[in-house]
């Protein structure tokens, strides 16, 4: 059974407004209402993500310092 965060309560409209404000984004009331209607889908998605993966499942980043330093030839 997957360990996720789906049990957490959804953010309220006031909490969504606060999170947007903390991000430094100022929306008109019409735009804010559109986003308040949109965010719950994304919130549910993020909370479905499995937690507690194997340590070997490292992030799928690409960081290759040799590459950034350029071709040694």
């Amino acid at each position: 059974m997957r360990n996720d965060l789906s049990h957490l309560p959804p953010a309220t409209p006031d909490e969504i407004r606060a999170m947007v404000a903390r991000a430094g984004v100022a929306l008109s009331e019409e735009m804010m209402q559109q986003f308040i209607a949109t965010w719950p889908q994304f919130e549910a998605m993020v909370r479905r993500l499995p937690r507690g993966l194997d340590y070997a499942d490292e992030p799928a980043h690409t960081f290759r310092p040799a590459r950034l330093a350029g071709d040694p030839k």
Partner: protein
């Protein structure tokens, strides 16, 4: 000979035999665009003068016996997030409505060096994500099979333009399915290559770790020819892979006899799938089995899982890209783009890392399955093209995607037509995917299928 629907391969043969010239072909296609595109909106900008100049140069070189490769003298289009020096590259957005790049994207440089003829810049969902949208400076493209429907997205213009016979080939981009979706909905071929196979440099980013450029054409053979020109290492693209580029055209031959294919269980069936899709996929499986392949079911994680993983990663990367504009001028975003970008500001760092770690696990799942088979097969879209209805709600997150699993794993995946819906007459599509850098396997399976079927030879009739 109907120039509109000649393939790259057929045009090459016609040029060799001097039955057609690049100038003649380019003129005919530009005239077709002028006659029909006002109803399809597949172009944002037609580069007529440039196209005719490039056509004359190609003609001069070909007549002199110089042949630069399979794209020499071949007209093509570019999704309008691919930068072109001196030619506006808008992202189909008010935010970049007047942006004129100073340099070509690497992929454009390769096509120019290969003698291609740029017909124009093509419609996209806003910055390859926000769409279909009706609140942008240009209208959304329409589907040539039914103008009351959309061509899918985000490579909407390339899908529509290739299907409509405006050009034999176009470059689309694919982050979660934006080449394969429009290819499926428009009845053409579209390849998302392996991540790192084709340079992203000079292409406006959507999700750094999942962006791909790929060919959209009317045949698998043409995919192989265009890929040959655009594939290869680019030291200035941090994700580019330095590995040899095989002869993709040569890889088409050999058929599927003895190949082991895995039909992914459940993905193309169930709630939300078009009722004719299961029949079309079963028929495609029967064709491949008749040609000598073994097809067995394989089990992978759900589309919901893959979609959640991909969309979490994308949302954060998108916000990172668009943050300055979103803070300064949110009103200049289309509604859909704004509502898809802003969630990235609210997703926590640990959530992003959870998705990145899950991506590794999901990619390993596919790699393990590919130890037992040569390629996956499934549908390239679960539905037919949507109606063009501005009142439709945004289903970006709520509808699981059948293309995103191979975006998450970064492997090559190709969409090709495999039938038409009975009631609506709209294209249905097969998706074939294989391991990293296994484009030759994907192309070989798809080419064998197209040699045995006629779906890719059907074309829409454009009403006057």
């Amino acid at each position: 000979m109907d120039i509109a629907f000649l393939t790259i391969a057929e045009l090459n043969r016609a040029y060799e035999r001097r039955e057609l010239s690049p100038v003649e072909v380019t003129r005919a296609l530009l005239d077709r665009v002028a006659a029909h595109d006002a109803k399809l909106n597949s172009f944002i900008r037609v580069t007529e003068d440039l196209a005719m100049a490039e056509a004359k140069e190609a003609e001069r070189e070909l007549m002199a016996g110089t042949r630069r490769g399979p794209m020499h003298g071949i007209p093509y289009g570019l999704k309008d997030i691919v930068e072109t020096a001196g030619i506006p590259t808008t992202g189909h957005s008010k935010l970049r409505q007047h942006h004129v790049p100073k340099a070509d994207a690497e992929i454009v440089r390769r096509l120019k060096d290969g003698g291609g003829i740029l017909l124009g810049k093509l419609a996209t969902w806003e910055f390859a994500l926000g769409g279909p949208s009706w609140d942008l400076p240009w209208p959304p493209a329409r589907n040539p099979w039914d103008r009351d429907r959309l061509p899918g997205g985000s490579s909407s213009g390339p899908g529509a333009a290739v299907a409509a016979g405006f050009m034999p080939a176009a470059i689309g981009t694919d982050t979660g399915g934006s080449v394969r979706g429009p290819a499926a909905f428009c009845g053409v071929a579209g390849l998302k290559p392996t991540y790192g196979r084709v340079s992203r440099r000079g292409v406006f980013p959507n999700t750094f770790t999942m962006d791909h450029c790929g060919p959209m054409t009317r045949s698998v053979e043409d995919v192989s020819l265009m890929l040959q020109v655009i594939a290869g290492y680019d030291a200035q693209d941090p994700g580019s892979e330095d590995c040899p580029v095989p002869d993709y055209r040569a890889a088409l031959d050999g058929g599927v006899k003895g190949m082991r294919l895995g039909l992914v269980e459940g993905w193309h069936e169930g709630a939300g799938a078009h009722p004719d899709l299961g029949r079309a996929i079963e028929a495609a499986v029967a064709v491949l089995e008749r040609l000598g392949a073994t097809v067995k079911p394989v089990k992978l994680s759900s589309l919901r899982d893959y979609t959640d993983c991909k969309t979490t990663i994308s949302s954060v990367e998108l916000y990172s890209i668009h943050e300055p504009d979103l803070r300064a001028r949110p009103q200049d975003f289309g509604r859909i783009l704004r509502n898809r970008v802003l969630p990235g500001a609210l997703i926590r760092g640990e959530d992003y890392l959870a998705a990145l770690r899950w991506r590794t696990a999901l990619a390993k799942e596919q790699a393990a399955a590919l130890k037992q088979i040569d390629a996956f097969i499934t549908a390239a879209a679960r539905t037919i093209a949507d109606k063009a209805d501005p009142s439709q709600p945004d289903r970006h997150v709520s509808t699981p995607s059948i293309t995103m699993p191979f975006s998450v794993s970064g492997v090559p995946a190709l969409a090709i037509p495999c039938g038409f819906s009975r009631a609506e007459g709209m294209p249905l599509s097969l998706q074939i995917a294989a391991g990293p850098m296994q484009e030759p396997v994907v192309l070989r399976v798809a080419h064998a299928y197209q040699q045995a079927t006629e779906w890719h030879r059907r074309h829409p009739k454009l009403a006057e």
